[in-house]
């Protein structure tokens, strides 16, 4: 890249510096106003933080699918939100059946594991089919082409599932054992949020192990590094790419069930759209293509979204601050793109990849 000489004045650098100062100022003033007013109690802050962490771990699971695919194919799979929806929407019927037979509350952990497996398989199948039908024939074409296909595939999946299950809203049944809260130092944290965070963390650890410690993980890393050389080393590229889509799909499907346990209502064919966009934001935030980055980006986005409106915006006297939650999320995206385009943990992409 062209580098500005240090002794030359640049309006771009100047504007960015001013912007930087203004943002820091707004955050500090807003937070100071809110905290000094004492309007929100410590218990409420902890509650917001915990809810944000749980929401963030769901974003992180979805974001991993974006980042895995980007790492290997350098494409954004915009239909990934729909892969999440496929698992979540299909499993709601299994969950209802398990609830009717009483299995869900007799053996809650086993039932949830079963649901995660089922949702993972559904989403995995959808993701693999998506790759086979929509992306593989276009491999090697200009980068805009699969992007447009992804958007088309996204619509196709949404309306296919609407045709399959109808346009009404469904809800996951309640898991009794996860209701209620545990008290830590006088502050109640809902059990379900702890469960969501821990199970998401477990899945992420599994993924990390898969990528770093197994043969197929090694193959994935090799393909990501250089497809042609990996092929010369005897790696079946098509299989590795399919496997990557499958892993991303499985994580998205399990995120669907975890989301269903955390936020049981509002399951319908359109439910993948917003989480999909948020997870994409999280992936970019953490550094797209970087696996720990996607996890961190997801958690960071969830917490910022939960705390930001009440901490900063309300403190600045902005009315209806809670409705600006999405504004905070996407402002974060813009700021990251301005100040650190490679993301929090990402590395500057080489010329060839960018």
């Amino acid at each position: 890249m062209f580098k500005w000489k240090t002794d030359e004045f640049s309006w771009v650098d100047f504007t960015i510096d001013v912007l930087r100062v203004l943002i820091v100022l707004a955050v500090v003033v807003g937070a100071w106003n809110t905290l000094s007013s004492g309007r929100i109690t410590l218990a409420q802050w902890v509650n917001l933080f915990a809810a944000g962490l749980s929401q963030g771990s769901i974003y992180a699971l979805i974001a991993l699918g974006y980042t895995l695919v980007y790492g290997i194919l350098l494409m954004i799979n915009f239909a990934h939100g729909e892969v999440f929806m496929a698992g979540a929407f299909s499993t709601v019927f299994l969950a209802e059946a398990l609830n009717r037979t009483g299995f869900l509350n007799d053996q809650p952990l086993l039932a949830i594991l079963l649901m995660i497996m089922f949702a993972g398989l559904v989403s995995m199948t959808v993701a693999i089919l998506l790759e086979r039908v929509a992306y593989r024939p276009l491999r090697g074409s200009p980068r805009l082409v699969p992007l447009i296909t992804a958007i088309g595939a996204s619509f196709f999946l949404q309306y296919a599932f609407r045709g399959l299950y109808g346009s009404g809203f469904k809800a996951y049944p309640q898991v009794q054992i996860l209701q209620g809260a545990i008290s830590i130092g006088g502050i109640n944290i809902p059990i379900v949020q702890i469960f969501v965070f821990c199970s998401a963390l477990l899945l992420m650890l599994c993924l990390y192990w898969l990528v770093e410690r197994t043969r197929i993980g090694k193959a994935m890393r090799a393909v990501s590094e250089n497809k042609e050389v990996a092929r010369l080393m005897g790696i079946d590229i098509d299989f590795v790419i399919m496997f990557t889509f499958g892993v991303g799909g499985f994580l998205a499907g399990s995120a669907g069930v975890i989301n269903g346990v955390f936020r049981p209502q509002g399951v319908n064919f359109f439910m993948g759209f917003i989480p999909g966009i948020k997870a994409f934001t999280a992936a970019v935030l953490g550094g797209i293509g970087n696996i720990p980055g996607a996890m961190l980006g997801g958690l960071f986005l969830g917490v910022i979204e939960a705390i930001g409106p009440n901490l900063v915006l309300a403190g600045l006297g902005i009315p209806g601050a809670n409705q600006l939650k999405d504004v905070i999320a996407f402002t974060m995206l813009v700021l990251v793109l301005i100040f650190r385009p490679q993301g929090i943990l990402g590395e500057r992409l080489s010329e060839k990849k960018a």
Partner: protein, 425 residues
């Protein structure tokens, strides 16, 4: 070429002068009259949403219209009653186009419609200009009965409705909060939809007028799933009651997450008819117990007979009414037919003369009419000009264990306006 044209002109001029002259001989009405010959049917029109996503509302209302006519064996004053069906598409343009076709037909005495409030705004200027009257079974927008343009009012003379003005439902929630719950501070939440925003604003205004304090007025966005930010804001403002007339699933997210929000665990929640369905409580689970709901309450023996008649006749091909406005349409049609019966004058030659202004006056004079939807009294003054519903077909319901665990529906009624009036006396 010229001669037929001349003959045509002369003939049409003659006709143009002679028809009003003839009419004038019998009709003393300032808006003109409908003349129904001895062997001709009495014609009414329906302007309802018959296609598109709102079509089940239209089919629901049309079934009510058909059953009301069947209930009179299809006859009025010894003549057949005929319905001209028009489609409003639930849109202003659709209402306008349908109204133009209706207004062009001089034999039509009155209109049942429209389904959607937007369509009524397109239709009413034309219907009113034509001297006709229109009775709606499902418009709920307050603007339609408000004649103050500064407040967004779009009232036109000749407009009536048996559906509840949204002002009723919001006001009812506020009165219940003050008179029964005796709460001092309320928070309201809407979802940006004009319908829910209207309810939230009315509730807040009436509540504030009844010496209550509105501590928070906010909104969620449609599609939100994480409500922790707004719930924390609400908790920080310290309300005794949260009024959330929003639609599902946002209302479900709000109620279930409020149970886990510090400061809101014991605060009562009240929703409105946007959440009034059997799935609401089971979807939320234990947190739904104790939630209050305002919603339509049509009951009684007459209504059971109506349902039995529907099952037998199956208007539109369904066993049961597809939505909640059939009883309102049944009442609207009966009011229209009763008004025709009251003002029609029979000439010696058997012709019926029905004055259009007289029809409107007869409708406006309706008082304590015992309809399926309760007692109907048509009001004349803005913001209720043309409102015939009195709120007796609305009630407040409370969700309990039976709704949460067994999906029992409808939930028990805890209050209606008659209890409020008893309290006033």
């Amino acid at each position: 070429m010229k001669r037929p044209f001349l003959v045509f002109t002369v003939l049409s001029l003659l006709l143009a002068f002679s028809v009003p002259a003839l009419a004038d001989s019998h009709c003393m009405d300032e808006l003109g009259c409908v003349e129904v010959g001895p062997d001709e049917p009495i014609v009414i029109a329906s302007i309802l949403a018959m296609s598109g996503p709102a079509s089940f509302y239209g089919a629901d209302s049309l079934g009510g219209v058909e059953l009301a006519i069947l209930g009179r064996d299809g006859m009025l004053l010894g003549r057949d009653v005929e319905v001209v069906e028009e489609d409003s598409h639930c849109a202003a343009e659709g209402g306008q186009a349908a109204a133009q076709r209706v207004a062009a037909d001089e034999t039509i005495v009155g209109v049942i419609g429209t389904t959607c409030s937007g369509a009524a705004q397109g239709a009413m200027p034309i219907i009113s200009e034509a001297g006709m009257l229109m009775i709606s079974s499902s418009n709920t927008s307050p603007s339609l009965t408000n004649d103050n343009a500064d407040e967004g009012g779009t009232y036109y003379p000749g407009y009536f409705r048996t559906a509840h003005n949204d002002l009723f439902q919001g006001a009812m929630g506020a009165r219940f909060a003050v008179e029964v719950l005796k709460v001092g501070a309320v928070a309201t939440v809407h979802d940006g939809d004009p319908y829910t925003e209207g309810l939230a604003v009315v509730m807040a205004n009436v509540f504030a007028g009844l010496t209550g304090e509105v501590v928070f007025q906010g909104a969620v966005s449609k599609g939100d799933t994480d409500m922790s930010a707004i719930l924390t804001e609400i908790a920080a403002s310290g309300p005794d009651l949260v009024y959330l007339p929003v639609f599902t699933p946002e209302s479900e997210f709000l109620v279930s997450q409020a149970a886990n929000t510090p400061g809101l665990e014991d605060v009562r929640m009240m929703t409105a008819d946007g959440s009034f369905n059997a799935d609401f409580a089971p979807n939320i689970g234990a947190a739904a117990a104790g939630v209050l709901m305002t919603g339509p309450h049509v009951a009684g023996d007459a209504y059971q007979e109506f349902l039995a008649m529907w099952a037998e006749e199956q208007p539109g091909g369904t066993d049961t009414p597809p939505s909640g406005f059939h009883a309102h349409a049944y009442d609207a049609t009966n009011l229209l037919l009763d008004a025709v019966e009251a003002v029609a004058e029979e000439m010696d030659d058997g012709t019926l003369i029905i004055g259009r202004q007289a029809l409107r006056d007869a409708m406006a004079a309706v008082e304590d009419y015992a309809g399926l939807t309760g007692s109907l009294t048509c009001q004349e003054d803005s913001p209720y000009a043309g409102d015939c519903a009195t709120g007796t077909a609305l009630a407040i319901f409370e969700l309990g264990e039976a709704q949460v665990n067994e999906g029992a529906w409808p939930p028990p009624i805890v209050w209606d306006l008659s209890m409020s009036m008893a309290g006033d006396e």
